[in-house]
Amino acid sequence: MVDECIWGHRIYDEQAGPMVLLELLNVMASKSLIDFSPNEELRYQLERKLPLRSYIFKNPFIELSFEGSYDPWEDWYAKFMNKDMSKLFEQFANPTSDNRGVDTLREIFDGDREESYKNFADLVKLVKDSAINVDSNKRWTSKFVFPWGRDCLFTDMRETDGSNDRRFFARTGELVFILLSRSRNKGRLKELIDSNYLTEVHPLNRVCKLFQKGYGQSSVEVSGARPPVEVLYQSEEDFGDVRKISEEMDRRSNLLCNDMIAVLECSLSAEDKFYHLSRLINLHVVCYLIERSQVALNQSERRIFLCEIITKKSGPLRKASQRLFLGNRQVTRAAVQHYIDVKCKEIHASCADSKENYDEAFRGRFLSEFRISSNSEFSGTPEALCRKLREKALERHERHLGNVHNEFAKAIGLASKCGSRAYRYTVDDPLIMSLVLANIHGRRLNLNSFLEVLFAKYNIVIGEKGKDYVNEHYLDDGRLDSSDMTENVENFKARLKSLGILSSLSDGCDFVLNPFANTK
């Protein structure tokens, strides 16, 4: 339970990319962001929507033409509703009428048998074409319809028992929800999310709703998500400043919330904002991950994302970036280790004067502190307990949370190993565009100011701003000089120019443009 204590939840690397946003939308569809208190346990419901998801993702027969068939609807249904599917429908579809699914579908679509079936097949293909994870080799219950509205949302599901699986909805979305509930502008965010992704008017949302016709609600109750703790350590020397931790968390929550609002307010359609939002949420999760690690380590230095704009030539900047990437990757591991060590010391200190048997008292406190059940394999001397916990926590960390920094950074275009063997930080074109949408509120912003914002909000260093900090804190040898950063900025300008979002007036007077800014 060490991960939960430090970060609020274990964070799974497999949830990288749009799945965090999708999980968040599911939470928001069930729970009001405004009414939720950041200190309460999160309880909400997830929909299964079996008919909809099975028509789209477990329906290879839709590709068959059924040419010359007397009733293509019946032929298709006979193939689709096989034994396994029929069992699933029985368990989790919750039909509200005696009609078979195919009869309801037939009613929905206008026209003769052949024509109406063709329409149905075309619509299924259309919805499938736009789906999330559709080209991946993930199981069909982990593929999702694009969230045009609230009728398109459903949970990641285990096929065998219909429970909500935690593989791709691994609670990072819940964590983001809890963080957002701390933010000042959550009301505005809720309003915008509702009008963009939880509406019912989008034609394709209405199509998805019709695919569910004839079936009632079938949902899963979800609970267990708790807010991240604010006091990590009790012992004097390691006592984190409670106020600072709280402020740090509020700051990240507000930054995330404001970024989401900025993107949602852009004059882009909801469909096009989706991936920008997703990238920004992932970026903030990476920042959060590192910031909480720093809190656990009781360190105050900022961890930097020194981004090289990809070039063929390797130079000191690339090397420094690779070094920082490695350092940042290891910071979570160090946090876990440090947390266990300090907590064990605390327990030792509190049990030293105990009248009971020291080992017994230690074990009792140990199990309760780390939320381990008493009948678990943890037994032995205090040293053995601590060693075992460290081994287990680090082993688990290596499998999941230890990879989150890498996987999330890769998924959003913040990391790449293009042209080298090791990963380094970079910003690819889609991420640049997302950062522009989130941070340029008017039509344009001076390039230097834009780079300052990136440093202040996300610790992203591209140009001169932040270079000294990097040199001072992280680079003893091979320090970066101004020419490295100037060249990097020139490359960054070339990227902006190729995206059509840079306007240069005269030497050193460049403006980054936001073509989608809502200036009304």
Partner: protein, 631 residues
């Protein structure tokens, strides 16, 4: 004896003029031409009259200073735009100083390193009762605290914001420095002024109050280029060069180059054509400074590959590059056709100069058509068109083309003997590229021809119709190629080649607007045709850009799309059936943004329409309407 001395004098003058002109050449380490004052010094040293390019802005500034009651003037621009030059002209005219006195007065206002204060003060009297002090700040960059002051409000911002009739400021600055200094003051008034100036720089709005701003980076660069050629080529020192050419054949090469640019007291076809390229670049918001264009002209006049060995005699320092077999019309090797594109320089040298790399956008030399190439390479394809016949005739008469063909034949014949296939092939290709550049500047002008226009030798094959449309003075006019443009738009929006002027179909795959072509029709925009309107701009007429305007009849709203030369080319080529993937990401992003705006506007107009009530209609691309019963 006397005759030989006078001939030596003439040769000396010619040499001095050449040296003076060579100060502007690319790659000048001393960079004497970087500062206005330095140019004057160099001109003095060589005893050559400085070039006078005319300063239309100076006239306007002078007029404002003499007629307006309260006025301050900001002259903004990139280094090399002629800010100081314009200011000096105003200073001269207002103070009526001449020659050395002017130079001293102007140059002495340098300040020192500790306190740079490049101010020069002129006093102007409109009449006996009215006297105005005009302070010229030659370079705002020289003193970072000039506007703000060092404390106690001693900066000039107070005076700028509260003008008085007795004192005016004329300030030369670059854009960034001006905005930065204003914002560093951080008062409501200075911030407001900074916002207004920033908007003005982006062509969005005017500045309130008594501050007037001249942005020299928005000058008409094709006109400036022509005026530079006119001034340089008509300089009186060319008479000395002509006389000196009798004894020194190297000068005759310079004269040949000059003759290709300036003939019978007028600009040649080559200069006119080249200025069209600069005009197109200006419309793409690529701005060149006067200094860069001077470099281009001096390189065209002096940069002759054949003079390499003799360059020292003429005092030319930067003449490098190979000899182009098809570059000249006779043995003198006159080659402005290559020099204007920087082909007399090494590739490394050329890439150091933005002006040459920007010109590479047109791909002149690599782009061509089958008809023209067929004629150049003797491939034997004959076109039946009359226009092509005209081009064919021109090519058959052109000595450079004949020379190239001879060289090609020679190389091909020897190929088997010396087995230098790769080298021969490279020679032929570079010769062909040089010939195409030459043809672009010299071939007959057939603007309406699709296969024989000079624009066929560039990547902007439709530039002729674009320029024709832009130069039309009418504010709204139907474009000749409107049908093709509509088809291009339709191709991007839905992947189908429709040229309807009533509907524009926009499709997506359901999720992303970014998907070009797709299954689901996101919008069926009813439009009142496509009209092209002129975009309002603070620039002069020549750089006014047209906009495609799509109007929605339901609510009368409209969406505008700025039609730059490259956007126009992109749409026209899409209309001809080019694949979307063959265009740059920048162009695709531009059109995607248009698609987005159209969908947004369509959605707005749909809210005024009640067709959504009752039934759900989903339109698939293949004219397939799916009607579903209501929920």
């Amino acid at each position: 004896m006397q005759e030989s001395r006078s001939r030596a004098g003439v040769a000396g003058k010619a040499k001095n003029f050449t040296k003076f002109l060579s100060c502007y050449l690319p790659g000048q380490a001393t960079n004497v031409a970087s500062f206005d004052e330095k140019v004057a010094e160099v001109a003095n040293k060589y005893g050559v009259r400085m070039f006078e390019f005319g300063a239309p802005r100076a006239e306007e500034i002078k007029s404002l200073l003499t007629t307006e009651d309260c006025v301050h003037i900001l002259v903004a621009g990139v280094a090399g735009d002629g800010k100081t030059y314009n200011l000096r002209r105003v200073f001269t005219d207002l103070t009526q100083l001449e020659g050395d006195i002017l130079l001293d007065a102007w140059n002495n206002a340098q300040g020192d390193k500790q306190d740079p204060n490049p101010i020069v003060v002129g006093v102007f009297s409109r009449n006996e009762s009215f006297k105005r002090e005009v302070q010229f700040i030659k370079d705002l960059t020289a003193n970072k605290n000039y506007l703000k002051g060092k404390g106690d409000g001693d900066g000039i911002i107070t005076e700028l914001l509260n003008p008085s009739p007795e004192k005016s400021y004329v300030i030369a600055c670059n854009h960034g420095q001006l905005l930065e200094q204003l914002r560093s003051i951080n008062s409501p008034d200075s911030n407001k002024l900074a916002d207004e100036i920033e908007n003005h720089f982006f062509g969005q709005g005017e500045i309130e109050g008594s501050i007037k701003i001249f942005d020299l980076s928005q000058i008409n660069q094709s006109l400036v280029f022509k005026s530079i050629v006119r001034e340089v080529c008509s300089h009186e020192a060319w008479n000395d060069v002509e006389d000196a050419a009798v004894d020194n054949p190297q000068y005759s090469m310079m004269l040949k180059n000059r003759a290709s640019m300036w003939e019978n007291e007028g600009l040649t076809k080559e200069v006119e054509r080249f200025s069209e390229l600069l005009k197109l670049l200006a419309m793409e918001r690529v701005h060149f400074t006067i200094r860069e264009m001077l470099m281009l002209v001096s390189n065209a006049l002096l940069g002759n590959g054949l003079t390499k060995d003799k360059s020292k005699e003429l005092g030319l320092k930067c003449i490098v590059g190979g000899v182009y077999p098809a570059s000249g019309d006779d043995d003198s090797g006159s080659c402005i056709h290559q020099n204007l594109f920087g082909r007399n320089l090494t590739e490394r040298e050329r890439h150091k100069h933005r002006i040459f790399t920007e010109l590479d956008r047109f791909q002149i030399g690599t782009a061509s058509t089958r008809g023209i190439d067929s004629e150049l390479l003797n491939l034997g394809f004959k076109s039946d068109s009359k226009e092509m016949a005209e081009v064919e005739e021109f090519i058959s008469r052109d000595p450079a083309c004949a020379k190239f063909k001879e060289m090609m034949r020679d190389k091909l014949e020897k190929q088997g003997e010396d087995e230098q296939y790769a080298r021969n092939r490279a020679d032929i290709l570079s010769g062909l590229e040089a010939l195409r550049r030459r043809l672009f500047l010299t071939m007959p002008d057939l603007p309406n021809s699709k296969s024989a226009s000079k624009w066929c030798l560039t990547s902007f094959k439709n530039a002729a119709s674009y320029l024709q449309f832009v130069s039309d003075k009418r504010t709204s006019k139907r474009l000749n190629s409107e049908k093709n443009l509509r088809r291009g738009l339709a191709m991007f929006m839905s992947g189908t080649a429709s040229d309807s002027d009533e509907f524009l179909y926009i499709t997506t795959r359901g999720a992303e607007v970014d998907e070009r072509g797709g299954a689901y029709q996101a919008a069926k925009c009813q439009i009142n045709g496509i009209t092209i309107e002129k975009h309002s701009s603070s620039m002069n007429d020549d750089s006014v850009l047209p906009s495609v305007v799509l109007k929605f009849p339901i609510n009368g709203s409209k969406v505008e799309f700025l039609l730059t030369p490259s956007s126009y080319e992109c749409l026209m080529l899409l209309g001809e059936g080019f694949s979307i993937a063959s265009f740059s990401r920048e162009k695709i992003a531009e059109l995607t943004s248009l698609k987005q705006r159209l969908i947004a506007e369509y959605k707005k107009s749909r809210t005024m329409d009640d067709r959504d009530e009752g039934e759900l209609i989903i339109n698939l691309v293949r004219n397939h309407e799916i009607v579903l019963i209501s929920e």
